[in-house]
């Protein structure tokens, strides 16, 4: 795993190009500490930082074919490279290395842009076709690996992380206020938008092509759910469960391929327990597992972790993550997320990858993706109950289901049906709205916008982030089952834009650790999309078919465990122990006034409320959102007041290169 960097456009003198590429590459050194390489051609340049995992000795990049007509620079893994190589050799291709990188070169030579359809992996690659003077950049289907780009005059620059692009002279780090509104609605900007006004993100499952005539971005894959009216094929559940298990086993097996040992994260929940159980037989020298433990009972899952370790016999180690650890890590976390966040949940994962690196491991499997693919999140159940209630608005009994929905929220258990109806039914959402399932989350997150400054509100006047999401919904969405609609929103947006980036790639790669996700194998995603909704969310049992498929694999207590959302202590992290200096420094009235994004007086009141007491969802969201935005601003823009419609002369940001 690695960092890819490059440009295409105006000719640059070699010395200057080398200097620029070097500077950009240094800023993503954490992604690939093992090796560096450069390619400079006519109006084209690639730089690569390598974390050596497959083909360690002969996988140096950028890599060219024998003729030198194709050059590739690649971040990630092609898990089916062994099969692809056999297929290509049978078609007459001769390989010089054992790496998966070379497979991309031959596959492109064989199939052109359609090569991506054959790849099973988590990848971003940039491929230069010198004879056509054409650049192809591809990003994996689910959005595991990142790719950002920016255009400056006649040149396209691209990189695995934004910080490399900020090394391009003249590229500004100005904030896009609409992206900030999206963070405070969806938890992350929706690509191609990023929090940086002049920088775009290549969306998951997309190709970017550029030649001397210009640039195009187009999708090559999307999740296809069947029409709700389509007759189900009537397959028995046991039959479907067998197919799920077989495919999941293969998805895990090919993700254990590496020339270095592969470990696994083990949270103690259903999903990571499954990946660990499936991975164990493929770990030739035993499986190493890693976890986070928390001090508060509300967040800690260590008893389940111990149970799984006993059951599987893995070599386990964990790190304790308390308030102090989160508070201390948080500024570094924001340097790596490169965007504001409304949760502290990335911080424990940042600390966990550091631990994995310290244990001299580079690759871990995780259970991420199962909740999207097999419908595990509460939001799916909640949407179902809300739909059920909306059919009989006068009913008092129906609202009582919300108590069963959130057994882990003690406050809710005491509420009367009347109160539940008031909270969950207050907004009278239209069940025909494509965003029906997600409206409550958008609203409860969006409540934190009361802290936006008057100037920011003025700039955002008339803007509704949800409209931008609505515009991205496929034409046949309206014909899908409501559960599938909700799964699509979760899988296409929150998953790549927040989970896989701010909690995934960016936290793991901060310490040169590669995460691999068996549940996000596209064959499994495609299979799960065709499984009837009632087999996924069966009554109130989430991921029902997955539980059935893995019954024999796990201890019953784990197999039947109700999902506990992964959460970390939020605003309390900053005030339980000694309050870190940066909190007061960034949230005092003068500092907030200076950045211009939030209301200084309201922020001051929020800060004193958080110092005083533990808070609910809204205040936590607001506090973490405001604090991370202030941290982001300080780290990346180093500018004075943000003003609506105000464009400063562009400037270069030096990052981590001082």
């Amino acid at each position: 795993m690695c960092g890819v960097i490059g440009y295409f456009g105006d000719r640059v003198p070699t010395q200057e190009a080398r200097h620029l590429l070097h500077r950009m590459a240094v800023s993503v050194q954490h992604r690939g500490p093992d090796d560096a390489g450069f390619y400079i051609g006519d109006g084209i340049g690639f730089a690569h930082r390598r974390l050596s995992i497959v083909g360690i000795a002969d996988g140096h990049q950028p890599m060219a074919n024998v003729e030198g007509s194709l050059v590739v620079c690649f971040n990630g893994e092609i898990f089916n490279y062994v099969e692809l190589r056999d297929m290509l050799e049978a078609r007459g291709h001769r390989f010089r290395t054992t790496s998966d990188t070379e497979v991309i070169l031959h596959l492109y030579a064989d199939r052109g842009d359609e090569c991506v359809d054959h790849l099973n992996g988590d990848f971003v690659f940039a491929l230069w076709d010198a004879s056509r003077r054409r650049l192809l950049i591809a990003r994996d289907r689910m959005g595991v690996r990142p790719l950002f780009y920016a255009r400056r005059e006649n040149t396209l620059f691209f990189a695995s992380e934004v910080k490399a692009l900020l090394g391009v002279p003249g590229l500004s780090a100005e904030m896009d206020p609409f992206a900030l509104d999206q963070v405070f609605t969806f938890w992350a900007p929706v690509p191609p938008r990023t929090i940086f006004k002049d920088i775009s993100e290549l969306p998951a499952g997309h190709l970017l092509t550029a030649d001397d005539g210009g640039m195009t971005v187009r999708p090559y894959w999307d999740i296809a759910f069947p029409d709700a009216a389509e007759r189900e094929d009537g397959r028995a559940e046991a039959d479907v469960a067998d197919e799920v298990l077989a495919l999941l086993d293969d998805a895990t097996a090919i993700r254990m391929r590496a020339d270095v040992p592969v470990g696994a994260y083990l949270s103690g929940g259903l999903d990571s327990s499954i990946t660990c159980a499936l991975a164990k037989p493929y770990a030739q020298s035993g499986l190493r597992t890693f976890s986070v433990t928390f001090g508060s009972q509300e967040h800690d899952e260590s008893s389940y972790q111990r149970e799984m370790v006993r059951a599987l016999g893995t070599e386990h180690s964990s790190i304790f993550c308390g308030s102090d650890e989160i508070a201390e890590a948080f500024p570094s976390v924001v340097l790596h997320t490169e965007k504001p966040v409304v949760r502290t949940a990335p911080a424990p994962l940042y600390l966990l990858s550091r631990h994995v690196r310290d244990e001299a491991m580079k690759v871990v499997l995780t259970g991420e993706g199962a909740d999207e693919v097999f419908a595990g999140y509460d939001i799916f159940k909640e949407a179902r109950v809300r739909r059920f209630c909306a059919r009989q608005p006068g009913s008092q009994r129906r609202w009582q289901l919300f108590r069963r929905l959130y057994p882990y929220l003690p406050g809710l258990q005491q509420q009367s049906p009347d109160a539940l109806a008031a909270y969950f039914g207050a907004h009278d959402d239209d069940p025909a709205d494509p965003l029906f399932s997600h409206r409550p989350r958008f609203r409860s997150t969006g409540a934190a916008k009361i802290f936006f400054s008057a100037a920011l509100r003025e700039e955002l006047a008339g803007y509704d982030a949800a409209d931008e999401l609505l515009a991205r919904i496929p034409a046949d969405f309206a014909r899908w089952h409501p559960l599938h609609q909700a799964q699509y929103l979760e899988t296409k947006f929150l998953l790549p834009d927040y989970i896989l980036s701010s909690q995934g790639d960016r936290m793991a790669m901060a310490h040169g650790v590669e995460g691999r996700f068996p549940f996000l194998d596209h064959r499994l995603v495609e299979l799960a999309a065709r499984i009837p909704p009632a087999m996924k969310l069966k009554g109130f049992v989430e991921k029902s078919i997955l539980r059935k498929a893995t019954e024999g694999l796990l201890p019953p207590a784990i197999n039947t465990r109700v999902k506990q959302p992964y959460r970390a202590p939020d605003s309390a992290s900053f005030f339980t122990g000694a309050e870190p200096d940066y909190v007061g420094r960034l949230l005092n009235r003068t500092a907030v006034e200076k950045t211009g994004l939030f209301n200084p007086l309201a922020t001051e009141k929020l800060l004193s409320k958080c110092r005083r007491q533990a808070n609910g969802f809204r205040d936590n969201t607001a506090f973490v959102g405001v604090l991370s935005t202030q941290l982001w601003h300080e780290a990346f823009t180093k500018r004075s007041a943000w003003q609506p419609g105000h464009h400063e002369p562009s400037r270069t940001i030096q990052y981590g290169d001082a």
Partner: protein
């Protein structure tokens, strides 16, 4: 002395609106429907009634009928105060 309604309103503006007086609710505005309080917010209101107004609140009384607007809360507090005084007299 501030009226009970004003006292409640001041607490709401301070604790839930963080001083944003442009969104100050009227006596009969629903606090829930206008996103002024969420389910945690209701519990903060309960704590306010207990700590600042000295009125104990039973679980069964945590209802929108008692807490969803300034007027409803004021009426609830007033009736509880009446009840307490009667208890004292008894």
């Amino acid at each position: 002395m501030a009226t009970l309604n004003e006292e409640i309103r001041a607490f709401i503006v301070e604790s839930f609106l963080f001083g944003d007086t442009s969104r100050t609710p009227g006596d009969d505005d629903s606090l829930i429907e206008n996103d002024v309080v969420d389910s945690t917010g209701i519990l903060e209101l309960v704590a306010f009634v207990e700590d600042n107004l000295g009125i104990p609140v039973a679980d069964a009384e945590i209802l929108p009928a008692n807490f969803d607007s300034i007027a409803k809360l004021a009426a609830f507090v007033t009736s509880k105060r009446g009840g307490l005084q009667q208890d004292d007299a008894a």
